[in-house]
Amino acid sequence: MLLNQFLLLGAILFAIGVYGVVARRNAVLVLMSIELILNSVNINLLAFALRNGGDPTGHTFALYVIAVAAAEVGVGLALVLLVYRNRRSIALDELSEMKG
């Protein structure tokens, strides 16, 4: 396979993720979109690592990213839950007390 194909897949996932963050109102879906971007990064990293002859840097990095993403999602869901308990809603647009 060609490197380009992996990069393209990564870029498409990335774009979908960015679109999700910008367009979605549901906090959980936004979290998922961010995860999508992180996964697109992983695809890129692995593709580059393979291109560089199985360079361990890329593989390790991808593992780190997975770990960090897990931590991030944990904190994110906790925050969403906190908000949900108070407001009975996870629509992000209702979170606009502060502005200006």
Partner: protein, 643 residues
């Protein structure tokens, strides 16, 4: 004694600290007397320093007292240091001298004010900052004082304001001053870039040694001039000064007449070698702005009815004269006029304060009149101030104004332009004589119009203006003495009577431009100007004193009438309209522009605020937009669009 010049600013600072801590306990009038004593002590130290300086040979009249190395690193080395030389000590003398008198006066004027001690806190802080400004050995120390006086002025203008308007009261002062500060900052950095130091001596010697590039010198000059315009109320940044009359009158006298507003002139004189190095259009711009301000403010002054507003515009106008002198290369004349102006304008302001005090805070001149009998000392001293500012010989103002006009008349390099400026200056001098006469007559002569309005002062019952207490009159008498004899500082008759010239010579010899005028020209100009000023005063007397003159001498009046009718027609129709128009321009356009800057910032802030909608999605979109722009830039560069 020169080693202790740091005492001069330190003493008011001590007064400030003591009053901050103990002010309320000391109360009225002790905290005020303490502040005055501190200022007086600073005056004595200055005086001693002065005599020490005089006793030295001319070339040794310069001393730098370094307190500590402030920023001693590598290429950037700035000391906290004070400079004692003829110029700084001259400034310090009249700042502390007049400052002491005004402090004393304020003890009487502010008596009974609930914020009495706070007032003196500010006043001492102001004196300290002003002394830092003039005694600073480098631009940074001056800048510190520069910011300090601006802040004090801002605080004092809002002193009597209620909570609602306090936030907006000093706004104009603040905005215009900040524009000026910006100019100063840029000049500072330019100077630093050019000579690698911020000290005046380094900058000036670079200019005198020819190592300062001409274009840089021009840029420094113009930026400093911008700063000076802000602080010294020149077109178009003057508008804060009339507004500053909202503050208590001693403040108007101290800050807005005698000291702070002269900071810009001082700064220009301080860097005169730089101005001399700049392209010749730079000083010409200064002279033009000065003359235009002088004329403009004088015309506005004619249409004012507030006793302090007249003096405020008159201050703007007189400062214009000083800048005309600076632009003409007559630095000694500028300082000379600054000193005499400090005498008589402080006198006039304090006199007006005395009137306001006696009239129970009435400031409208249309409700005054015939006060000379009720307030004889105030009236007498005010009249002396009037004669001094109007340019009647031998009072102080005549000599200094005459020298400025002479410098413009005899300017060697650009005679056509400066002849025009001379004309403008002369006309302004006539207007000055006119509106000051108008003021004196409206306040002290004519009919007692306050009687019609005694009912307005319901609380006072039988309203009667009264003379002020002795502590307020004493400074008036002292200042009127100075206004009479102030001219002896620099009499033009023989070389030996030009004391100020010799005193300042070593500092200004590089920048001072020698005019070419024969003795006959000089005499002619002096006599002609004085005569015209007297005539202008006569006209004003006829116009505003009409009723009285009619009663006494009908024959003269018959002749006078025709002229008077013309003048009053002129004053009533086209003339009045012209003056009203300039007042309108002042109110709406120039004011509007400065307010516009403030509201512009505010408006654009309000528009930009809308991007901050509170919605996370919008924020993400904004970030996304930023990413797109960033990527566009990098990719376009990568494919070579931007080289």
């Amino acid at each position: 004694m020169l080693n202790v010049i740091w005492l001069i600013p330190l003493l008011p600072l001590c007064g400030f600290v003591i009053n901050v801590v103990l002010g309320r306990r000391l109360g009225d009038p002790k905290s005020g007397l303490l502040a005055a004593a501190m200022c007086g002590a600073a005056f004595i130290v200055t005086l001693v320093t002065y005599f020490d300086l005089v006793s030295r040979p001319e070339e040794a009249r310069q001393h730098v007292a370094t307190i500590f190395s402030w920023i001693p690193v590598g290429g950037l080395s700035v000391d906290a240091a004070f400079l004692a030389d003829p110029l700084s000590i001259t400034m310090a003398l009249f700042i502390t001298g007049i400052g002491t008198l005004i402090h004393l006066y304020a003890v009487g004027y502010m008596h009974g004010d609930p914020k009495f001690s706070k007032f003196f806190v500010y006043l001492n802080l102001f004196a300290f900052s002003m002394l830092m400004l003039v005694l600073g050995e480098n631009m940074l120390v001056t800048f510190l004082g520069w910011e300090g006086v601006g802040t004090c002025s801002y605080l004092l203008i809002s002193f009597w304001h209620t909570r609602e308007s306090a936030a907006t009261a000093g706004k104009k002062a603040f905005v215009t001053n900040r524009v000026g500060d910006w100019g100063f900052m840029i000049a500072m950095f330019l100077a630093f870039q050019a000579v690698g130091s911020l000290s005046y001596s380094a900058l000036n010697s670079a200019a005198m040694g020819g190592t300062l590039v001409r274009s840089t010198a021009t840029a420094i000059t113009m930026m400093l001039f911008l700063g000076a315009c802000g602080k010294s109320a020149q077109l178009p940044l003057y508008i804060w000064l009339p507004d500053a009359m909202e503050g208590p009158t001693p403040v108007s006298a101290l800050i807005h007449a005698a000291t702070m507003v002269t900071a810009g002139v001082y700064l220009m004189v301080r860097v005169n070698p730089v101005i001399a190095t700049a392209f010749t259009w730079a000083p010409a711009v200064i002279a033009i702005v000065g003359a235009a301000t002088a004329l403009f403010a004088a015309t506005v002054a004619v249409a004012q009815t507030d006793i302090k507003k007249v003096l405020a515009y008159s201050t703007v106008s007189q400062l214009g004269f000083m800048f005309l002198a600076v632009g003409s290369g007559a630095y000694v004349a500028a300082i000379f006029h600054m000193v005499t102006h400090a005498f008589f304008k402080a006198l006039l302001f304090l006199g007006s304060g005395s009137v306001i005090h006696g009239m129970h805070h009435e400031q409208d001149m249309r409700r005054m009149g015939a006060l000379r009998k009720l307030m004889p000392i105030t009236a007498g001293t005010f009249i002396i101030g009037w004669l001094a500012i109007a340019g009647v010989p031998p009072f102080a103002g005549f000599w200094s104004k005459d020298e400025i006009l002479l410098a413009a008349w005899a300017h060697p390099t650009n005679p056509a332009l400066f002849k025009v400026l001379w004309g403008v200056g002369l006309f302004t001098a006539l207007l000055t004589a006119f509106y000051m006469t108008r003021q004196v007559i409206m306040v002290f002569f004519g009919k007692a119009r306050w009687e019609d309005h005694s009912g307005d002062h319901g609380a006072h019952g039988d309203f009667k203006p009264h003379e002020s207490p002795a502590i307020m009159l004493l400074p008036l008498v002292a200042l009127s003495g100075l206004s009479i004899v102030g001219g002896v500082l620099n009499l033009p008759f023989t070389d030996s009577t030009k004391r100020l010239l010799h005193w300042l010579e070593p500092l200004v010899h590089f920048g001072e431009i020698e005019g070419h005028a024969s003795a006959g020209e000089k005499w002619g100009l002096a006599v002609g100007t004085a005569a015209l000023c007297l005539a202008s005063m006569g006209v004003a007397i006829f116009v505003y004193q009409r009723n009285r003159a009619q009663a006494v001498e009908p024959q003269i009046l018959a002749d006078g009438w025709r002229y008077d009718r013309f003048v009053s027609w002129f004053m009533g129709h086209p003339g009045r309209q012209a003056f009203e128009a300039t007042a309108w321009v002042d109110r709406n356009i120039v004011d509007g522009a400065v307010n516009g800057v403030a509201t512009g910032v505010r408006r654009s802030g309000a528009v930009l605020r809308r991007t901050q909608s509170g919605f996370v999605r919008n924020y993400a979109l904004l970030i996304g937009g930023g990413v797109v722009l960033m990527l566009a830039w990098f990719l376009l560069r990568a494919v070579g669009v931007f080289g």
